[in-house]
């Protein structure tokens, strides 16, 4: 499409439409909503990691001041369990072992925080007061915490269906070819590493309000969700057995998600169900402490990775073996994260011809683990970029040169990897060069010496990542076990005056869709940006949708909008042809006007819209009135954003404290709709990745207690922990979606952890340090230095 540059179109760094309401404190988050007659729910949670429930006595609580109801599993046993959305098969062909995930614990509790009862009262304080009167008789069972020990004979079983606590034992790749390559390799680098468990911690805690109308039989759920349609589907079909048309799910403004608000949680089902029992609204808002015990957590892999190289440094094969922690229950997408979202990324940006990956998923007495920003891909990138750096160290090569030597070359696209993916486009040299230049990689030694003079150890670390985004082609996903489609839907409604409402199934919880999607519409339809309204987050207003995760919004949700607009333009051409008495085939659409090709005869978009709604002199026999179209877009492939990140650190050798002194990111996200928003997404991802590398860790003790269960012990990155970031982008266009976009939401969190750890190991190279586990706390670094000094 040719058109004049549109100041509010694709590529403009427009200020966000959503900001004024947030800046004035007028956002409407779930906890800001209060319904008439609302009651408050408080969940009484297990203090034990693993225990049988012998008896629950709720009599005193039921009589307490203000109490409306107290429910336990005796009341909810008829409800279905919370479902898992992806079936994984073990290498022996058997399906994964799924224990029931009840909304309230049935017979036993499986992690600290497992909800046992819910108390509903006139005020939240009363509900909490009454919760202290519930008496529960527990018989404690041994907690299952360590993934290796969990498989031992005699270890307690979290679920009876999985006596050895193995949920599945999955593999991908050609094992024989990999083994053969290792047998002939000139060099093999082996590394054991941990991908530390994280809490997503969006600053808005989860909340849910259930409402019920006995007049219409309609259930309404307000919830802090990234995907209201998915919640409606899962909750209606699996848990409450209510037909979808009787459930409305509204996800209003949502204060961040990062994955943790994708899943269907017990509290959502419970408040929806209880509101119908009580015929009054029931509201629940999580505390932060509660969030640490009930929001799905992320990562938590224990991995052995081996890389085989020939004498020239070419990668011959990669072998990975991982234990992935599932926690006590299978969360909505838990099973797919360490498998298809992980194993398939092991080629990275490299031509490694043979790859084999084996992942065992283990149940433990801990909070469920599911996707957290990046989801499987940060784990893959971390192990790959760490083992490559170690291989460079062991073989005396420059880590940049070793990467370059193995990069997939621009002429090799489309590139089939040995782990199932076909990369459509990319230029890995280009992003690497961009990053090296920005970081003045060549000048690093000077900086290292200058730091040394100040008593500091300076290190530089490079990491090149790739991610598979734009999740996902439904046929592929279905073949791999997905229990749903992964398309996106959009309705574009042109109003009679020519303004446009877009109903999208994507959801914004910080990403700024109200702005970027409006830019796409402004660009494509040639109408003013402020004439476009983006509607999302309400199943009553939106056709259908799969929501926002996996950096899919613009690539999949945006493409659905483009497809719907294509239909609008096609219909508009018919109408305009009639108005201009021209042949439909001669019509073009440019800069917001329908034209007869080769003439100056034209009708504006607004005129055509008006005619569609006031169909006088209108071809009613062939064209319906109105101008509204819905489209479903199912992606043809994943998209493959990629880039190179460079981190520079300085370490205080006396204390082990690390300071990030510079961070450079060079990304290829394909076409960019709004560069300001894209940069913001990268910044946020980097902070989370650096958080993983240096600060964040969910630590469980042997009894299964979460020791870092509040911000007092779980270290969130703060402003003074981070530098200003230097970010840049370059473009290779995605070849298979109409916008040429790849997505940018997760890159920062994927590429940064290995860049940071590589920099730290580099800083410590004189001490012979070869690896530091995340989070690389001062204490760990001090210990590494000290044990090197002892040697």
């Amino acid at each position: 499409m040719t058109h004049q540059p549109n100041p509010t179109g694709i590529g403009a760094a427009l200020k966000r439409k959503e900001d004024p309401r947030f800046l004035r404190g007028k956002g409407r988050y779930t906890d800001d909503i209060n319904l008439p007659g609302q009651s408050y729910a408080y969940f009484l949670r297990s203090a034990y990691a693993h225990a049988r429930i012998k008896k629950i006595d709720t009599r005193a609580a039921k009589k307490a001041r203000g109490v409306v109801a107290v429910y336990t599993s005796a009341d909810t046993a008829k409800l279905g369990g919370l479902p898992c959305g992806w079936l994984i098969h073990s290498k022996d062909g058997s399906p994964m072992k799924e224990g029931k995930h009840p909304v309230l614990a049935e017979g036993k509790v499986r992690h600290v925080g497992d909800p046992v009862a819910v108390i509903i009262a006139e005020t939240l304080a009363q509900a909490r007061d009454a919760a202290e009167l519930v008496e529960i008789d527990f018989a404690e069972l041994p907690a299952v915490v360590d993934m290796a020990k969990a498989q031992n004979k005699g270890a307690a079983a979290v679920h009876d269906v999985a006596p050895d606590n193995v949920c599945y034992d999955w593999e991908l790749g050609d094992k024989a070819a990999v083994d053969a390559a290792f047998a002939t390799a000139a060099h093999v680098t082996r590394l054991e590493l941990t991908n530390n468990r994280l809490a997503a911690n969006p600053i808005e805690p989860r909340a849910a309000i259930g409402d019920y109308s006995s007049a219409t039989g309609e259930h309404t759920l307000y919830t802090t969700s990234q995907n209201p349609h998915v919640i409606r589907l899962l909750m209606g079909a699996f848990v409450l057995q209510i037909p979808e048309h009787k459930i409305r799910v509204i996800a209003p403004d949502v204060g961040g998600g990062f994955g943790s608000k994708i899943y269907h949680y017990a509290e959502e089902a419970l408040v929806t169900w209880a509101a119908a029992q009580l015929e009054r609204p029931v509201k629940w808002t999580s505390d932060r402490s509660e969030a640490f015990l009930s929001d799905a957590q992320g990562r938590d892999h224990k991995t052995v990775v081996e890389l085989a190289l020939d004498k020239d440094g070419k990668f011959l094969a990669l072998r990975e073996s991982t234990l992935a922690n599932m926690g006590a229950y299978l969360s909505t997408f838990a099973s797919v994260i360490p498998t298809w979202l992980h194993g398939t990324l092991l080629a990275g940006q490299y031509t490694t011809p043979a790859i084999y990956c084996n992942v065992k998923a283990i149940y433990t007495s801990t909070v469920a683990v599911d996707a957290y920003r990046g989801a499987g891909r940060p784990e893959a990138t971390f192990l790959l970029e760490r083992v490559i750096d170690l291989a460079a160290l062991e073989t005396g090569r420059d880590p940049v040169e070793l990467r370059r030597l193995n990069f997939i070359q621009p002429h090799q696209f489309p590139y089939q990897t040995p782990v199932a993916l076909v990369y459509d486009s990319g230029n890995y040299q280009a992003t690497m060069d961009q990053a090296l230049k920005a970081a003045d990689y060549a000048g690093f030694e000077k900086r290292r010496q200058a730091a040394k003079a100040r008593g500091k150890l300076r290190g530089i670390g490079v990491a090149s990542y790739i991610e598979a985004c734009g999740i996902a082609p439904s046929n592929v996903a279905g073949a791999l076990g997905a229990r749903a489609g992964l398309y996106e839907a959009a309705t574009v409604r042109v109003n009679p005056t020519g303004s446009v409402s877009v109903m999208t199934g994507s959801h914004s919880h910080g990403q700024g869709h109200e702005t970027t999607f409006a830019q796409v519409v402004s660009d494509k339809l040639g109408i003013a940006f402020d004439q476009v309204e983006i509607v999302h987050g309400d199943t009553a207003k939106i056709p259908f949708g799969m929501g926002t995760y996996g950096s899919r919004s613009i690539a999949v949700g945006g493409s659905a909008i483009v497809k719907a607009m294509d239909k609008i333009i096609a219909k508009g051409k018919k109408i305009a042809a009639h108005m201009l008495e021209a042949a439909e085939g001669d019509m073009t659409f440019e800069n917001g006007a329908f034209k007869v090709a080769g003439t100056d005869r034209q009708k504006s978009f607004g005129e055509v819209a008006f005619s569609a709604y006031v169909p006088h002199k209108y071809p009613l026999d062939t064209v319906e009135p109105g101008l509204e179209e819905t489209a479903f877009y199912d992606p043809k492939n994943f998209t493959f954003p990629a880039g190179t990140y460079i981190c520079e650190v300085e370490i205080d050798p006396d204390t082990g404290a690390v300071e990030i002194v510079a961070f450079h990111a060079a990304d290829d996200f394909g076409n960019i709709i709004n560069p300001m928003i894209v940069e913001g997404q990268v910044h946020g991802g980097l902070a989370q990745g650096i958080g993983q590398a240096l600060f964040e860790h969910c630590v469980y003790d042997d009894a299964g207690q979460l020791v870092s269960g509040s911000f007092m012990d779980y270290c969130m990155p703060r402003a003074d922990n981070l530098p200003s970031f230097n970010v840049a982008t370059s473009v290779t266009v995605c070849t298979h979606n109409p916008l040429g976009v790849k997505g940018c939401g997760e890159a920062g969190a994927i590429g940064s952890p290995p860049a940071v750890i590589n920099a730290i190991v580099n800083a410590l190279k004189d001490y012979g340090v070869t690896h530091i586990e995340m989070p690389a706390t001062p204490q760990k670094i001090w210990r590494a230095i000290r044990s090197a000094k002892k040697k």
């Binding site: 006396d654 007092m712 969130m716």
Partner: protein, 272 residues
């Protein structure tokens, strides 16, 4: 939070009466930056919360000349003085800059706007900063009943010499020749993982350590060495035993012991 009666007496005497009548467990409220989080977690269940805010004369900063053999200057800080007020005080900055810097390093701006000196020492959190100042700066804790030598004030893990119902009214810090406080923060809470305050009064040197043990403590070996020669080098080779030091997910005892040495040296260097 459990509900409680709230009272706001206008004088120390009225507060004392309230304590007597206050039922099972009355508790004082100063800045609330420790008490309110504890109440929210339902860790405490007081019958009455006695807010000290309306009592006149409990905040403010002044200096006082010593008498008798203690001729030295003292800086008197009212118990209700906020951390921000201490950090910003011209007088404190001039007389004991280390104390102003310590206060500036407590928590975050919002916490410093509310939290008070009296609340901090009465609470005696092993990771709090002020206890190091109370010990190293020869402080004297004044209450509505008596005056307690700083050395006798902290009794252990969250334990002080205060009797039930006793109210801290002020703390007198002796002005040192030189002093510096070095803090290595626990990364998440930003309380002191280890904090070391070194102060020199003529021939006497005091080294107080917070964050590392069950309660603030002094390091006599370091004090002796520094009294002989007030230089970082004088601390070379002096090891603090990790025995009895805290171990947690952020730092094991041996790391804390090591940090005491590093921070003590840095504090001496900062004294100039």
């Amino acid at each position: 939070m459990h509900d409680f009666k709230y009272a706001r007496p206008a004088s120390l005497a009225a507060a004392a009466t309230l304590v007597k009548k206050g039922g099972a467990d009355p508790v004082f409220l100063a800045g609330g930056q420790t008490l309110i989080p504890a109440l929210k977690m339902r860790l405490r269940k007081p019958s009455t919360v006695i807010d000290l805010a309306a009592i006149k004369g409990l905040d403010g900063i002044a200096e006082k000349k010593g008498k008798g053999k203690d001729k030295g200057l003292t800086v008197v800080v009212g118990a209700l003085t906020t951390h921000a007020a201490v950090a910003g005080s011209k007088l404190v900055k001039a007389r004991i800059p280390a104390l102003a810097a310590l206060a500036e390093g407590i928590g975050d701006p919002q916490v410093r706007h509310r939290g008070t000196l009296g609340g901090s020492i009465a609470n005696a959190d092993p990771a709090a900063d002020y206890p190091a100042a109370v010990i190293a700066l020869h402080a004297e804790v004044v209450t509505n009943k008596r005056s307690i030598s700083g050395d006798a004030f902290f009794k252990g893990f969250f334990e002080t010499a205060l009797k039930p119902g006793e109210i801290v009214t002020a703390v007198n810090f002796r002005v040192p020749d030189k002093a510096a406080y070095m803090k290595f923060a626990q990364p998440a809470s930003r309380f002191a993982l280890v904090g070391v305050l070194v102060a020199k009064f003529g021939a006497e040197v005091r080294v107080a350590v917070t964050g590392a043990g069950a309660s603030v403590f002094r390091v006599p070996d370091m004090e002796k060495a520094l009294a002989k020669s007030f230089s970082a080098a004088a601390l070379d080779g002096i090891k603090v035993s990790p025995k009895d030091l805290n171990s947690d997910i952020h730092a094991a005892a041996d790391y804390r012991a090591h940090l005491i040495g590093v921070l003590a040296k840095r504090a001496v260097e900062a004294c100039g």
